[in-house]
């Protein structure tokens, strides 16, 4: 991998984000909402509205507003919230932190469960354990988050009364409490991805186990363990990296839903309440942050892929 390639790839990321920013700004311009009315309320006088518009720069042409906003974003200034007048950056950074904890836990749990499941299913292809894994995967794939979330809440919080239903406790303040609050949301987010990724691992590994080089490895007299772990698994997991990176988009979408259900003040919940309140700077910043996360993860996945498979030469 050459430095020129890295630069090229980073430029692509920047370009993608620029397009996203245009779209986001364009869409918020089209929203049937007047920020001044939102802030001052329906009963405000026309003079007061006019004065506020001038102060917020809403009377300027759209391209000027866009340039102003983008200039701020590049410097890390996302503007101020229309609801409470606080800087958007700070509020969202805090919310993003909570969301990332949830996302990281979900991702880790998903990988710890999905990869072994997929490997077991591939190695025992056609046997009962494979069928069980496949059946569970189908169930998992076909259940949307709000259904699994509701079921989990019903069982663990209501019927068995084992875990808290909603809310968020910071891990640094109360670790046990934080973990207890994280369990159900994490389960909900990872479940659907477990299903997806384990199926992917299974099918890739089944293909790899049928290749000539695996046969050659077996006929060299290597142990089953070495053939599976050293020869097959790396090749079988390679495409999974790409799939997981693409699933991050799904994960981010899932987090928005799950945060709302479990009342976690993360970036998803922040975004939903901003949409309800027509708080344009928060909406714009939130979407930009999610898009940037997605781009960054896919960029890292490309790097990981190139590191693990030497045939890939990015130039």
């Amino acid at each position: 991998m050459t430095p020129a390639y890295l630069l090229k790839r980073l430029l692509m990321v920047a370009y993608t984000l620029l397009v996203v920013s245009l779209l986001v700004f364009g869409i918020t311009q089209l929203l049937p909402a007047d920020a001044a009315v939102t802030i001052l309320g329906q009963s405000a006088t026309p003079e007061a509205l006019e004065a506020l518009r001038t102060r917020l720069g809403l009377d300027q042409p759209a391209w000027w507003q866009y340039a102003q906003w983008l200039g701020g974003v590049v410097q890390g200034d996302f503007g101020t919230s229309m609801r409470n007048g606080l800087p958007v950056g700070g509020t969202l950074a805090e919310a993003l932190g909570r969301s990332l904890v949830l996302a990281a836990c979900s991702l880790a749990l998903m990988l710890m469960v999905a990869i072994p499941l997929g490997v077991v299913a591939a190695v025992r292809r056609g046997r009962p354990s494979d069928l069980v894994v496949s059946a569970l995967s189908y169930v998992g794939v076909s259940l949307p988050e709000f259904v699994t979330a509701t079921l989990l809440l019903l069982l663990f919080a209501d019927v068995w009364n084992l875990l808290p239903a909603t809310g968020y406790v910071s891990l640094s303040e109360d670790f046990v409490g934080g973990v207890r609050h994280l369990i159900l949301p994490t389960l909900t987010v990872s479940l659907i991805m477990v299903a997806h990724v384990s199926r992917m691992v299974r099918s890739e590994l089944v293909d790899v186990l049928h290749t000539d080089y695996i046969r050659a490895a077996r006929l060299k007299g290597l142990s089953r363990r070495r053939v599976l772990l050293r020869h097959a698994l790396r090749n079988g997991l390679l495409p999974t990296i790409t799939i997981v990176a693409l699933d991050i988009g799904y994960l981010l979408g899932g987090i928005v839903v799950v945060e709302e259900i479990f009342a976690i003040p993360g970036i998803g919940r922040e975004l939903i309440s901003a949409v309800n309140a027509r708080d344009l700077p928060v909406i714009q910043a939130g979407v930009m942050i999610l898009a940037a996360t997605y781009c960054l993860v896919n960029f890292l996945a490309d790097l990981a892929y190139a590191y693990l498979d030497r045939r890939i030469q990015y130039a």
Binding site: D212, Y213, L219, G221, L222, R311
Partner: protein, 550 residues
Amino acid sequence: MTGPVLEIERYTLDYQTGRSTLRVLDDISLDISAGEVVGLVGESGSGKSSLAWAIMRHLAGNARERGGQLRLDGEDLRGLSSSRLQALRGSRLAMIFQDPSAALNPTLSIGEQVAEVLVRHQGLSLREAWARGVALLGGVELKSPEAMMRRYPHELSGGEKQRVLISTAFACRPRCLIFDEPTTALDVISAAQILALFTRLREETGVSALYISHDLALVSRVADRVAILERGRLVESAPAATIFSAPAHEYTRRLVSAVPDPARRLIDQPPASATALLEIHKLGVSYGRPGFVDRLFGRASETTQALRELTMTLSPAEVVGVVGESGSGKSSLAKALVGLTPFAGEIRFEGRVLSNAAGMNRAYRRQVQMVFQHPDASLNPRQRIGEQLARPLRLYGLAPGESEKHAVARWLEEVRLPAEFASRYPHELSGGQKQRVAIARAFAARPALVICDEITAALDVSVQATVIELLLELRKRHGTAYLFITHDLNLVRQIAHRIAVMYRGDLVEMIDAATLDARGASHPYTRALLEAVPRPLRGHPAPSSLQGTP
């Protein structure tokens, strides 16, 4: 050790498919003595690979062993526990595969794949095994073995990869080696070098080997003894020196006569006229174009020149062979001629000048037809044979007073297929039959030139012989010219008037096939190529050595 190293005694194997069973090996008995190399020759479906898998104890799930014995140094292979088997594989019994690119793990370094055998079977530490690995790679004549150990399979050529696999197979001094078509995926010159290497290693180590191949000419050069397998039955086993000169069994005789022999020319009719049908002037083909970002940074494009300034002519009814290894530009030539790829330079056909694919009009496209290597890929699997033949007929006009159905039947008959094949689908036909359909489809347009791109490469030698016979017959009847692209020098020397030798995008020499033996080749590459091709071993017994050393 007295007695044979490998004994196969009355071995019988079935494959279970649904409720029916298919006998793949029927009562096979074959011994290999110490230091002996036995060639096993058969066409596809003869069961030769199944025998290899049976010996390696790596049978498919639906294989059913019906009886017989497999013994290595007197030890019964069939009764081995899986741990004993793992200890045996790769140490006393090793195998070398057809496609070296597929047999190496793409994500592990060469060094690891060589060293792991030594760690496993000789209990060496990784460091010791690595050092031994360097020596092993040096032993198979790989340059800078230390650096080679750290490289990955995609950084090696096919010949180098096969050397790595051979070094791995020889690593633990095996008693017996099984080769499954080890040179089929390599170009002629690398193949000859691999065979020379094997000859040297067997002299040094005294290993026994079972050498499986479809190529009788090659096996007669490598092996001491040749066993012929026909549909699971061993029909003949004879010294390599006499298999060509005195084949005993009727099937062997058929096989021997189907092997292309450059000394036996199948074409005698000289080209009909002196005016050129096709003139190619400074034809060039390059692949790859600069991407958006490269252009943004003004970087030079990384294009590959697949064909450089090729100039040649073709007379009506002339057969010009094109030979060269993969990457020599022979397929690019074919693609440019039918307008499948952009080209530079000029093509003049019947006096009309073409400087790009857009200039190829309907008449040109009718006159120049192509037959591809894999009929499976070039025939539409969801269309009946009749529909596929009717298309060129509809496009380029039927003969007056002939119905479409009649014309389809006539063309099937021309390629010696029954007329009722018109209502069949490609998958119902054998490989040779499919290729006949592809040939019929090309001829249905009544072309003046047919480009054949490795059309017999995927076929068995006996099927190849009948397809070649058909092509020559069609030429005699229709006066068609051929551009016959192949890697098989023996074959093309039988049927071509002139042979274009290509090397890395250049036409290095145009040789006259009829006088090649007398006059010899002038270009060193052509001479190397001619030397590397294993010619059938006819006449008196001779030591089985190869001349094609690098």
